[in-house]
């Protein structure tokens, strides 16, 4: 059987499963459409949250980022998990007790203001739409690599699949497909990692293998890796970073952003009780950690594997001949994600860090520049091929990558469509809409959200990586502080909340645009995006945490100078703090 047939079989089988679930879990009411009826078991919800959260970025890109950056990129590991601690203690249980359907619902009621609700809807839509573009492009890449269709056809297939189960099933359909998608993606991620860990360290748990002995050299794996990359002019893999302030702020921005992303928060509206929301956050983190504890092992082992493939005799000996390169390099060269150029004409692949500091040694060895470019995104996808694993593992990876992209896309699309149908249409434009009418509005807005996301996925605005950072920055600087103050302070009033959100949002946007270009149009940035230009060494991607501080400060100062919060709203704050009398998620 050809590899193509195997891939088709795995992807086809997983899609058939999602379709089956969609037909079984149709939504019949708005409550089922928005919060899956409010009866999802906490462990089940944890699994769905994990799939909802772990996107194409976590599955495909993160290990590559860590492999390239080493210790410095541990920020992604800590940042994308630490947010769940904030979510579990500061937001999820109280928002579950509040018992409505959407995040702007809470902001509108708590700050007794339609303006606050609309600002929240705007923040939610900007954050979610930017995020969903990345998922659609990720799905397109996976399709084109494994199913040999072109990018746009791949995207159309992805859109039809998501349309089918998200529009039909709403949150109910999405929840149960996400559970299935989690199982597919975690198996796909773990199996190659286990085999590679066994090959390199004789340890079958990758997270332990990372700190074990490298069997071939008898040295600890990380020491071996440090030594190999150092010989080739790269920074030590485990080297400490100098700009600790930026590392702290970047991690903090990712954490606060994670806790403030609406599509993750609404997952906690689906469990029956406040106590379940607390447990569910723990289970979500367990399921996420299964991938996040494995990812750093995949990163360092793949990096070492790559180095030893290029330098089979060690980094001080000759590199391999281009003609003798392994099959997987040839496969990935066809996609353009690996590029080779024989600069010194010796037919070998010299792969090293082309910096002035290493120039002398490079010249001494007769090298005329780095000859190999490897896109970090291929590490996870090529892992089974690098480790010579059988064809079915490659098929599994294809299904896993698609599961990661589709599950996150569906969650985001639900957050967008509920903000439109529930907060805009029912909340502002037509409050008298019937249950049936609202359900139809939810499905129609979901349809349009998918069309827009697919269009943007086909014509990516050319700044995919920056946009994801923008989504986190907005969530961190606008949504998270507003929600937290709404629960933990009775003093913050509507003026304070609205001005705080706007101040956080605008300061973050201005800082990002100053370095990355206004609305990301190249050439419109005032300052070059280099560490020397950053204010106090804070990168634009780390600014979300500062935006959040600005939001808090403005909200408290404005509130202290303006009117007290009305008594009935203070009573609302009281009621979300105590679990007693929660009941199910209810409509107005």
């Amino acid at each position: 059987m050809s590899q193509f047939t195997i891939n088709l079989l795995f992807v086809g089988a997983s899609f058939a499963l999602y379709f089956g679930i969609a037909i079984w879990a149709r939504a019949g009411s708005t409550k089922e459409f928005y919060v899956a009826g409010g009866g999802v078991h906490p462990v089940m919800n944890g699994m769905a949250t994990a799939a909802d959260w772990m996107s194409a970025a976590s599955f495909i890109s993160m290990a590559g980022l860590i492999a390239a950056g080493g210790y410095a990129n541990s920020t992604f590991l800590m940042g994308w998990t630490g947010g769940y601690v904030l979510l579990a203690m500061l937001l999820a249980p109280y928002l579950r007790k509040f018992g409505k359907f959407t995040v702007p619902d809470f902001i509108g009621d708590r700050f007794y203001s339609r303006t606050a609700r609309l600002v929240a809807v705007a923040c939610l839509i900007i954050a979610s739409v930017t995020y969903v573009i990345g998922q659609m492009t990720g799905a397109g890449v996976a399709f084109s690599r494994f199913l040999e269709v072109d990018n746009n056809t791949g995207l159309m297939i992805a859109a039809v699949v998501v349309f089918f189960y998200a529009v039909l099933g709403g949150m109910k359909g999405i929840t149960y497909t996400q559970v299935a998608q989690y199982c597919v993606l975690i198996v796909a991620y773990t199996i190659p990692a286990v085999f590679i860990s066994l090959q390199l360290t004789d340890t079958f748990i990758p997270a332990i293998g990372l700190f074990s002995e490298h069997t071939q050299s008898g040295m600890p794996l990380l020491q071996k890796l440090d030594e190999v990359v150092r010989e080739l002019g790269f920074r030590d893999y485990t080297a400490d970073v100098d700009n600790k302030l930026n590392m702290v702020l970047f991690t903090l921005s990712l954490m606060i952003g994670t806790a403030g992303l609406p599509h993750v928060i609404i997952r906690f509206f689906t469990v029956p009780k406040v106590a379940d929301a607390r447990w569910s956050a723990g289970w979500a983190l367990v399921f996420i950690a299964l991938l996040y504890l494995t990812a750093p092992a995949v990163a360092s082992m793949a990096r070492l594997n790559l180095m030893t493939t290029i330098y089979p005799e060690g980094p001080t000996a000759n590199a391999i001949n281009y003609d003798e390169r392994p099959d997987w390099i040839q496969t990935w060269e066809q996609t353009g994600l690996i590029k080779y150029e024989d600069k010194n004409g010796d037919g070998r692949i010299q792969f090293y860090n082309d910096t002035p500091a290493f120039a002398e040694e490079a010249t001494a060895r007769g090298w005329a520049g780095n000859e190999l470019k490897v896109n970090g995104d291929i590490l996870v996808l090529a892992n089974p091929e690098i480790a010579n694993l059988p064809g079915w593992v490659i098929g599994l990876i294809a299904a896993g990558g698609l599961a990661a992209a589709l599950s996150t896309a569906a969650g985001l699309l639900l957050a967008i469509s509920s903000a439109v149908s529930h907060d805009l249409i029912k909340g502002s434009i037509n409050p008298d809409i019937t249950e049936k009418g609202e359900l139809l509005a939810a499905r129609v807005s979901m349809f349009f959200a998918i069309v827009i996301a697919t269009y943007l996925g086909m014509n990516p605005p050319g700044f995919a990586a920056q946009v994801v950072a923008l989504a986190f920055g907005i969530a961190a600087a606008s949504i998270f502080p507003a929600l937290m103050m709404g629960i933990f302070s009775k003093r913050v009033n509507s003026k304070g909340a609205v001005l705080g959100m706007l101040a956080g949002l605008c300061s973050t946007l201005v800082y990002i645009f100053t370095y990355l270009g206004w609305f990301f149009i190249p050439g419109t940035n005032q300052l070059a995006n280099t560490p020397d230009n950053w204010l106090f060494g804070v990168s634009p991607l780390s600014f979300g945490a500062i935006g959040a501080v600005i939001n808090f400060a403005v909200a408290f100062i404005v509130s202290s100078m303006t009117e007290e919060v009305p008594q009935d709203v203070q009573d609302l704050v009281e009621s979300v703090r105590y679990p007693k009398g929660a009941g199910g998620a209810v409509d107005h």
Binding site: Y71, M78, V85, A88, T238, A275, R278, R577, Y578
Partner: protein
């Protein structure tokens, strides 16, 4: 203030204290051991590197899981103790 609201007040204070304690550990394992205090932990070797590296790539995540479950367990007990459970 009536007994009822006094009880709720105490429950909320206990919750905030618990959150505060958990967040101190949260910050210590990630921003502390994983980032800022790494040079101080450089002497403690773990599998070819130092303890700070382990915390940044493994330890902090494991600690987060323990923290969230600890918080859920303590809070669910507090709900019952104060008679505020669902």
């Amino acid at each position: 203030m009536s007994d009822h609201t006094q009880n709720q007040e105490n429950y909320w204070k206990a919750n905030v204290r618990l959150i505060f304690g958990c967040l101190i550990v949260w910050a210590l394992v990630s921003y502390g051991f994983g980032i800022l205090l790494r040079p101080m932990l450089a002497g403690i070797e773990v599998g070819g590197t130092d303890l700070g590296f382990w915390f940044a790539q493994q330890g902090s995540i494991i600690s987060f899981i323990v923290l969230v479950f600890f918080y859920a367990w303590r809070m669910n007990a507090l709900d019952k103790q104060f008679g505020l459970e669902e």
